[in-house]
Amino acid sequence: MEITPIPGSEAAAPSPLVAALQREHPEWVTDVIVAFGEITIVVPREHLVAACLFLKIWPESRFDFLADICGADRGVEEDPRFEVNYHLFSTTKHHRLRLKVVLSEEDTHVPTVTGVWRTANWHERETFDLFGVIFDGHPDLRRILLPEDWQGHALRKDFPLRGYEPYSLK
């Protein structure tokens, strides 16, 4: 289900940060959602690494801390089906931002941001493990939480809660 932005939010009072970013690089900002006191920018996949690097260094934002990378499955019939959320935080300015990349089911490749923040390594492995999103350029993309030989991606909506078969030692 689409997240409906508050009507007129972009026009009314976008945060100065988002406005400045839209002026500098308008092709990076596909959509802006301001809701519940948080700002979400939907970034196209090809500009993700450039945007992250820029946001890390830009004096206006200084997002030097990647708090979390979180995948989500919108639903089996949705298109685009998957999204990957990047939660950024600035240790000096104490503001937060969410970047969102939306992916369709057929093409779940996203460039890795491990070069920008080293902490992305494990977060991306977890998103790969649980959703099957493949991060291109990741140094070590393998399963982290589920066993190495597990079939399927557990947090997808079409994976049953109880799994496919009960446990036996065989």
Binding site: D64, D68, C70, R118, I144
Partner: protein, 404 residues
């Protein structure tokens, strides 16, 4: 040199080990604080490479949240970071309250702060006991758990559960504090600084402890931020960052406390930060206790918050609301939030996404221990094997939070 001639087949050669050993430490190991497996590549005693292998406690909690109503999920959050269950409850409830736009009454906020700080002290006590036990100081383990029993008594009095309280609800608390709680809490808090001084006497001046922790496991401030460390691990490297100050919640901006930081970035620094944090939590708890005023503990939202039992038994609308909330749950507006709190281990963030129904569409917990553990290779390559134990102890990891 000596008069003894060594026969040629026993010739002494000085050749360091030219092969490296790969050994697996864990998952059943007394010092890994849970089911953690480390693949160590060793050159003699020195660690060349360490690769943590996690997932031995993966419980599928995030998938389970999607199948349970919002209020049912609170029970599951207890089992995540099981040393700081009230913190998990708080993060989850506050994320849901952000989505619902609820206004929490002041008494509930004060009690939340009080219980969270007591829980933080309890979590740090377990950390101290197990960390000291790993380094070799067994007495401290027993002393810490003795103090912790007093905290568990208080939490059990308030909520009914020692380790899995589920005390907070979406919209406030489960119920108000019992009679006599404030007196008992004050009794505990008055005696607590002596206990911390006792720990300092046992450990901080102890040369063995100092030698085993100073200079071990260093990480610089820039590396710490790049690796996403938070909480005492980050503050031990000199970065003054505390979510209670940076993005305050629950009224923390009104409390007077310091954020302890240490510049060195080694195991000793993290130890000192946590010891000082225990004293700061004690300060905050005393302030919270003194600010308790009578008032409601649940938000005024009859469709979300369960009514009091007396009201339910006497008023028809309360009964209907109770039935609907328990049987069908309440609809949460569509949207997504990310709510971080300062748990005892670092930044605990909850990403909650709702599609408009009574069950969440995605709940993700950003566990601080998950990220702190990912920095273990950066801290420990080049150290000795015995120091790995000290470094893991100083990271204060809880596998329930890492593996979820």
């Amino acid at each position: 040199m000596s008069s003894v001639t060594i026969p040629p087949q026993f010739e002494v050669v000085d050749r360091p080990l030219d092969t490296q050993m790969t050994i697996s430490m864990g998952p059943q190991h007394p010092s890994t604080h849970g089911v953690l497996r480390l693949e160590l590549v060793l050159d003699g005693e020195m660690v060349v490479k360490v690769t943590p292998d996690i997932g031995y406690l993966h419980t599928g909690m995030e998938k389970l949240f999607e199948y349970k109503k919002y209020q049912q999920g609170i029970v599951i959050t207890d089992r995540m970071d099981y040393l700081n269950p009230l913190g998990n409850n708080l993060a989850y409830c506050m994320a849901a309250e952000k989505l619902l736009g609820l206004e929490i009454p002041e008494r509930a906020q004060t009690i939340r702060v009080l219980m969270c700080e007591l829980q933080r002290i309890g979590s740090h006590l377990v950390w101290l006991g197990t960390h000291a036990l790993d380094i070799g100081a067994m007495t401290v383990f027993f002393y810490c758990f003795r103090e912790r029993e007093k905290i568990l008594n208080l939490i059990e009095a308030a909520s009914g559960g020692r380790l899995t309280p589920s005390y907070f609800r979406i919209g406030g608390l489960m119920m108000d504090l019992p009679a006599g709680f404030e007196r008992r809490c004050k009794q505990f808090l008055d005696a607590f600084p002596n206990a911390v001084d006792e720990f300092h006497t046992l450990l901080s001046g102890n040369r063995i402890f100092q030698k085993r922790t100073q200079g071990i496991g260093r990480i610089s401030a820039e590396d710490a931020i790049d690796w996403g460390l938070s909480g005492p691990c980050l503050r031990g490297s000199g970065v003054n960052l505390d979510i209670r100050r940076a993005n305050p919640y629950c009224g923390y901006e009104n409390y007077d406390f310091e954020v302890p930081t240490e510049p060195d970035g080694d195991v000793w620094a993290r130890y000192m930060v946590r010891m000082r944090e225990m004293k700061e939590s004690h300060k905050i708890s005393l302030q919270a206790l003194s600010r308790l005023k009578p008032g409601p503990v649940k938000a005024d939202a009859p469709k979300v918050v369960l009514p009091d039992r007396e009201a339910m038994k006497s008023h028809m609308d309360a009964l209907i609301h109770h039935f609907l909330i328990v049987a069908e749950g309440f609809d949460v507006p569509a949207g997504e939030v990310y709510h971080p709190i300062e748990a005892s281990k670092g930044e605990l963030g909850v990403y909650m996404r709702s599609d408009g129904g009574p069950k969440p569409s995605r709940v993700h917990f950003r566990g601080p221990s998950f990220v702190n553990l990912s920095a273990l290779p950066a801290m420990s390559e080049g150290e000795m094997v015995a120091d790995i134990v000290a470094i893991i102890g100083s990271l204060d990891i809880v596998l329930g939070e890492i593996d979820r």
